[in-house]
């Protein structure tokens, strides 16, 4: 295992993603983290279909020079409901329509849910799972392996919101796509940290900042700038100051939580409501308290986040 900046061994982490524009940037940022080392990637259907999210993960890993990281293909559809996609955000290939070379290799033969279990076993309770797509793979893994919660150190997810939503007024996309899987994850027993819209919307980068990022000059930095252009345009339609870096901020939280605010709360997922399906219900602000089963990330120092993104991208050179 590599050594981190403080000389301590880096902690192993598995990235479960539906690549995806902001997933792609998270993959690029995962190469040079201080405290985490990427040991496996699992793909899941979400932003676009599973064929595309799998090949996109392989493409971006190759762009990042991380061909050694195995990719395991995950679920093609949510556990119990029909799939929902977000082509309108991520473009027709899931990478903003950018022409990215096809990967030289394919995914491993093992399915994602088995790979999550095998990887967790290999690292004997030290594995962090960063899940930035719908939670189908983890949901299936918990259904199949009842000892899995004890083998995972923590799960950091991008999903949900204490207040508001994006795909509906009260549901965030990743949770909305597979609410049953999400509730299985929140109640699995392993520590779950939720980076929802409460923290990911304030973690935006402006169009100017993304141009500066591209100006770092490496092919990875230029890719990061180019891949977001469609999302930027989409975001401007919602009066957002820039592009919300949902997945990158979740990854960076997993690596170093020192510039974030975290609270221990109760979180459950509404799976049955007529207008609230997919809402992450939390007792963060209510008089009524639930069993405190999870952690919610409520705030970020945006400047610190932005600086960290630039630092990590500078590792790719000019």
């Amino acid at each position: 295992m590599e050594r981190g900046r403080d000389g301590m061994a880096k902690q192993p982490f598995l990235l479960d993603c539906d690549t995806g524009v902001d997933d792609a940037i998270a993959i690029l940022l995962s190469k040079h983290l201080d405290n985490l080392e990427l040991v496996a990637v699992t793909s899941v259907a979400g932003n676009v279909e599973i064929e595309k999210t799998t090949v996109n993960a392989l493409r971006v890993l190759e762009l990042a020079g991380m061909e050694h990281v195995p990719v395991y293909r995950g679920a093609a559809k949510p556990m119990m409901c029909e799939p929902t996609t977000a082509y309108y955000v991520h473009g027709k290939n899931g990478l903003g329509g950018l022409d990215v070379p096809l990967p030289k290799r394919g995914p491993e033969s093992m399915p994602a849910w088995d790979a999550i279990y095998e990887t967790a076993k290999r690292y004997k309770g030290e594995l962090t799972v960063v899940a930035i797509g719908p939670l189908t793979n983890l949901g299936l893994a918990f259904v199949k392996y009842k000892d899995l919660p004890d083998l995972i150190k923590r799960i950091v997810i991008m999903g949900g919101a204490a207040v508001g939503g994006n795909v509906t007024p009260c549901a965030e996309f990743n949770i909305y796509v597979d609410p049953e899987a999400a509730d299985i994850v929140f109640t699995c027993g392993a520590p779950v940290y939720m980076c929802g819209l409460d923290v990911t919307v304030p973690a935006y980068l402006t169009a100017e900042e993304l141009d500066e990022l591209g100006a770092l000059g490496s092919k990875q930095a230029k890719f990061a700038r180019d891949v977001v252009q469609g999302v930027l345009k989409y975001s401007q339609g919602f009066d957002l100051p820039g592009m919300c870096m949902h997945d990158p901020v979740t990854l960076l939280y997993a690596d170093n939580d020192s510039y974030f605010t975290t609270k221990h709360v109760g979180i459950r997922v509404e799976t049955k409501g007529s207008v609230t399906r997919g809402k992450t219900v939390t007792d963060l602000y209510s008089d009524k308290q639930m069993e405190h089963n999870a952690y919610i990330v409520t705030g970020v120092d945006r400047e610190a986040f932005k600086n960290r993104v630039f630092e990590l991208m500078k590792h790719y050179g000019a």
Partner: protein, 313 residues
Amino acid sequence: MRKRIPVVLDGDPGHDDAIAWVLANASPLLDIKAVTSVCGNQTIQKTTYNAGRVMTLIGLDVPLAAGRVKPLVADPIIAPTVHGQSGLDGPALPEPKNQPVSQDACALMADVLEKSDEPVVLIPTGPMTNVAALLLLYPHLKKKIRHIYMMGGGIQYGNWTPAAEFNILVDPEAADIVFKSGLPITMAGLDVTEKALVFPEDFERIRSLGNPVATVVAEWLDFFYGFHRSLGYAGAPVHDAVAVAALIQPEIMTFHEMYVQIETTGDYCRGATIGDPYGSLNQPANVRCIMDIDRQGFVDLLAEAAATYGKGA
């Protein structure tokens, strides 16, 4: 002087309902035509008895009618932890001077609407059972309702459950009927009412007015704050009075018009008021939500209302 606005007070007193009525009764802008009780904070027997006691205390001599014994569809939920076993624990109150009329609450509301020359404002500060019953049973009178100023819900969070506020949770079906009615609605939800905090030093300002109503209001606040202090609140959120204040002094508030839908099903979200500020449901705005308030202005309004009940001994 401006022509007074005809109103019906509909509530489940309850400390904050009672203070809302003290405020409404003190306002020269309002002409209170009737009072109706609803089951909510306590059983219908207790909220009706409390309504009679409050009316006697504040000298409000209009017809009172009791609502049904339960919400439209659901079983009752009561809140003794907040309001005590009587539903209005704390200071001693006079016995009701008049008995409730024999009509049901919604029938009395219908009578008021029928007889009124101009449309009437309804001010429900409890579950909206009576207002929904009125809309179901007397649809031809809808045009006689000018506006509904209600306390309930919360766009951002709940209180009695993590997702739902008490008044809506008690009768979500009634709330759904009212919110889908197309009538103008101003919603004083938790978003604003938890900012409408009356601090302990404000209790003393009201107590020092010295008149019998002000003294009782201060003692209600003492009691009502007990529950909220245990949860870490800096003051008493006098939820229901915000609905009345929105009618008589809207300048101290910030409003946001949006589409709001009531969740009537779900494991965790029954009774939630789902606001759609960005229009993702493609529905026209149906509610004017109050999102903020000038706290000091609100306290001044309450203190000035209490002062109208006479000088101290």
